[in-house]
């Protein structure tokens, strides 16, 4: 017997909806099995992982704080991937944005005005976009694969940040810790509640809604869909492939940079060697789990945020390594990509002789 994947004549719309649900289900089952294999009670662990974060106001707030950057980066990447442009380096653009925006508090520490915050937000987005222009330029000018360049640039950005906070931008009164000065006053985002809720989540939601409208009802969204799925038809419509690459890197890089700035001017409050628990990479999962649809990304961003908090929860309660978060996220991406195959292909079982024939001719 042999199992073959047969291309569907038309993509299955039912599977398009079911694929993320199926992927989440498979991740939960697989996660339970892993917990059991480690000798931990699987049901308790799964409860702690997925449900417990939603049972207290404090942890819900934490989930929302984590969801903010994931959604912000995820919607940018969703547009990018829809256009068949593969920006894998959002983590680096996030870092570049944080560095660029931090110029205001670090270099102009005495300038206290609402405009300082506005300038920081703009600089954050600009920094991310400009850093993303490096792979965009390499791709459009030399045809270099953007997956490799954008990924490699992540490490350059992170090492540059590391050097900055240990060197030029180290807080002179910081007891030699690798940190910048703590941001103050108008260099921090408005916060509210008793936790760490800040303006970033509102920004993320507004941008997700705007991009949802653009992708559905605006010519630019149409352009993204056409260029991404049928490049020659895109040329026929007069859309430029090159401009689309620049647009996508500007948008996704800019949003990642903005997310980075919001992190350092929000929950963290200063520059330090590590400013993101891999938000830029996790946002890739967020974008796919959200079906590359900005509204879907809002929900998948929340789900992935739960996985961060749940991971911390099981670490505290059951003493399981915090690497489980990454294992869960990895499984989720693996299953979503696997289930997505079902949208375009159907599984067929072949009996012995037939299998041989089809195998040789196809």
């Amino acid at each position: 017997m042999q199992i073959v994947l047969e291309k569907r004549s038309q993509a299955s719309s039912w599977m398009n909806v079911m694929s993320p649900v199926l992927a989440i289900g498979l991740t939960v089952i697989m996660g339970g099995l892993i917990f059991a294999a480690m000798g931990k009670p699987p049901l308790t662990a799964l409860y702690l992982y997925f449900i417990d974060p939603l049972t207290s106001w404090w942890s819900i707030e934490e989930v929302l704080v984590k969801a903010g950057p994931l959604v912000l980066i995820g919607v940018g990447l969703a547009v990018c991937f829809k256009a068949n442009v593969w920006n894998i380096g959002a983590e680096g653009q996030l870092t570049a944005g944080a560095l660029m925006g931090a110029m205001v508090p670090v270099l102009l520490g005495d300038w206290q005005s609402p405009w300082a915050l506005v300038l920081m937000l703009l600089l954050g987005a600009l920094g991310g976009a400009m850093f993303a222009f490096i792979p965009a330029w390499l791709k459009t000018r030399f045809g270099v694969n953007e997956i490799l360049t954008s990924l490699m640039l992540v490490y350059i950005a992170q090492l540059f940040l590391d050097w900055m906070v240990r060197g030029p931008w180290k807080d002179p009164h910081g007891y030699n810790f690798p940190k910048s000065v703590a941001f103050e006053g108008w260099h921090l985002l408005p916060m509210w509640g008793d936790g760490r809720m800040h303006l970033g989540l509102v920004v993320a939601l507004v941008i997700a809604l705007v991009l949802y409208w653009v992708m559905r009802n605006n010519l630019k969204g149409f352009e993204v869909r056409v260029v991404g799925s049928a490049p020659r038809a895109g040329a026929f419509a007069g859309f430029s492939q090159t401009k689309m690459v620049w647009f996508c890197f500007a948008l996704s890089g800019g949003l990642a940079g903005l997310a980075g700035l919001i992190e350092v001017a929000g929950p963290i409050g200063q520059l330090q060697p590590h400013i993101s628990p891999n938000y830029g990479f996790t946002a890739i999962i967020v974008a796919f789990l959200g079906r590359l649809n900005p509204l879907g990304v809002v929900f998948s961003g929340l789900l992935l945020a739960i996985s961060y908090i749940g991971g911390e929860g099981v670490q505290i309660e059951l003493g399981i390594s915090d690497k489980t978060t990454q294992v869960f996220q990895g499984m989720l991406l693996f299953f979503i990509l696997m289930c997505d195959t079902l949208i375009l292909y159907r599984v067929r079982y072949l009996s012995g002789t037939q299998a041989n024939i089809e195998g040789e001719t196809s």
Partner: protein, 522 residues
């Protein structure tokens, strides 16, 4: 020849009985019976989508029948795969060749042969075999340097090396000039004289009458007739193929020709893709009310020329191009549309339309920047006006008889003919002053082809200038006021259609006008 019950005197070489092939619910071949005799050329006729390819793929082992039997020399067999078919003595020449451009003729042939045939001096065997059958071929030549006709010879020689008893040819003349086709027919006659059988797939009726002994006609997967092509006329064969009498296109002579609306002088263009054809010193002009048709075998620079005129190839040319009496070098495709031009590319799926987008979105594809009134966009925020697009869609659907599953279906769900009517209708609906249309009815059923051709003629009689690029000579003679021929990136002068014969065009397709061009007529 009416049925196969009385031929117990001799067993046919190959006989299929009640052969059925289903793809899901779709019946591609329905209960087909046919027998092929040694020493004859058997024609398999039918429109695109009639099931010809499915049938021969089952004979060649590339597909397995859902039910029914195949008998080879009287024995019931299962053709497991193409290698098995070749072992039996069935060779096939496909419409689209699978050759490596960077390798030589002998290397390409060697790759496809079973090991026992690769031994010995293969290039000498190729040379002698190809000379013997009138298929001149240099075994050491690089495939990239060869013409399409020469490439086809490689495929034929490859089959002949295996000494087939049955040779299947899928639309072999689609890519040949009339003269090359005649040479091929001579080879086929020689093969059948030596006792080989040939199954000849085509929808060109004249050549079927010329070389075939038997003909089987398929329509919608069913066998509709077995006839003697020598007795039938092309018209009766066409009627059997289409199922009704073919609508004749009505073209009145045009005396009312206006100013030049599309003009190219001394166009030189190097293609942006590595295997593209370089265009050399192309001059053409199309006047208002005139249809200029460019004939030529596919792959001689047609798509590059289309790309340059539409503006998709970018501004790489150093010529002067005039559209609507304005110089249009450097303008992009939408700026050219705004001047009054419209374009229909050769490939409807993936170029003229996007498969998974709905029809209204596909209207937007070419209409979003035409400055039409009313516009399909709300100016300012560039929002898409769905209501406006829906109105346009129903107008196009009605005017051009686009049959679809539901009003705003996905483009991919339409049949080839209906999608082509939609793509052409989308452009004609604008009443463009200049229309450039590449292969207007390629792979389209006869009814849709007639409708499209009539619409193109009607547009020209309303004073538009039309440039048609086609490799179908029937279509060219149906449409054209003026004919030019393209070969290897060079375009001949334009001649009045009434002054040219098919043979003249054939000579030009073979390159008689290149460099030191020979003047024909005019």
């Amino acid at each position: 020849m009416q049925n196969n019950s009385n031929n117990c005197l001799h067993t046919p070489l190959l006989r299929v009985t009640k052969l059925t092939k289903k793809f899901g619910d779709f019946v591609a071949n329905d209960d087909l019976c046919l027998s092929i005799e040694t020493g004859k050329v058997h024609a398999l006729l039918g429109e695109n989508g009639a099931g010809k390819s499915t049938l021969v793929k089952m004979m060649y082992g590339a597909l397995q029948p859902t039910s029914g039997t195949i008998e080879w020399q009287g024995q019931t067999i299962t053709v497991a795969n193409p290698a098995h078919a070749r072992d039996l003595g069935i060779g096939m020449v496909f419409q689209h060749f699978s050759l490596f451009e960077a390798l030589t003729v002998v290397e390409n042939i060697s790759l496809a042969l079973p090991p026992q045939l690769r031994q010995g001096n293969l290039s000498q065997r190729i040379a002698s075999l190809s000379n013997e059958y009138g298929l001149p071929l240099n075994p050491e030549a690089l495939v990239a340097d060869l013409s399409v006709g020469e490439r086809q010879r490689i495929e034929i020689v490859r089959c002949l090396l295996q000494q087939p008893k049955l040779l299947i040819m899928d639309e072999p003349t689609a890519v040949l000039t009339p003269q090359e086709a005649q040479a091929l027919f001579a080879t086929l006659r020689r093969l059948v004289a030596e006792g080989c059988a040939v199954l000849y797939i085509s929808h060109r009726l004249e050549e079927v009458k010329q070389i075939c002994h038997d003909a089987t006609i398929l329509r919608h997967g069913q066998l509709v007739a077995k006839v003697d092509p020598q007795v039938e006329t092309a018209a009766t064969l066409a009627q059997l193929m289409v199922g009704s009498s073919v609508h004749q296109v009505n073209r009145q002579a045009n005396n009312d020709v206006g100013p030049v609306l599309l003009g190219l002088t001394h166009l030189n263009h190097r293609s942006s893709t590595p295997f593209g054809v370089e265009l050399l010193d192309i001059n053409l002009s199309v006047k208002a009310g005139e249809i200029l048709a460019i004939a030529g075998v596919a792959g001689n620079g047609q798509s590059e020329l289309f790309g340059v005129i539409s503006g998709e190839e970018g501004d790489r040319s150093d010529c002067s191009m005039v559209l609507m009496e304005q110089v249009c070098n450097g303008l992009n495709i939408n700026q050219r549309r705004q001047l009054g031009a419209a374009f229909v590319p050769e490939e409807r799926m993936g170029h003229g339309a996007v498969e998974h987008l709905c029809l209204t979105d596909n209207i937007l594809l070419s209409r979003h920047a035409c400055n039409d009134t009313p516009s399909p966009l709300n100016r300012g925020l560039m929002g898409i006006d769905r209501a406006q697009l829906a109105t346009l869609n129903s107008t196009i659907g009605r005017d051009y008889d686009v049959r679809k599953g539901h009003e705003d279906a996905q483009a991919g769900s339409l049949s080839g003919g209906n999608l082509q009517k939609f793509v052409v209708g989308r452009e004609l609906n604008r009443k463009p002053k200049v229309l450039v249309i590449n292969q207007p009815t390629w792979g389209v059923d006869a009814g849709a082809a007639a409708l499209i051709r009539q619409a193109v003629i009607d547009l020209s009689r309303q004073g538009s200038a039309i440039l048609v690029i086609s490799q179908d000579l029937d279509e060219i003679f149906e449409l054209a006021d003026t004919i030019a021929v393209i070969s290897r990136g060079q375009l001949s002068a334009g001649y009045a259609a009434s002054q040219l014969s098919r043979e003249d065009i054939g000579l030009m397709m073979a390159g008689s006008h290149e460099q030191n061009s020979v003047e024909v007529g005019a």
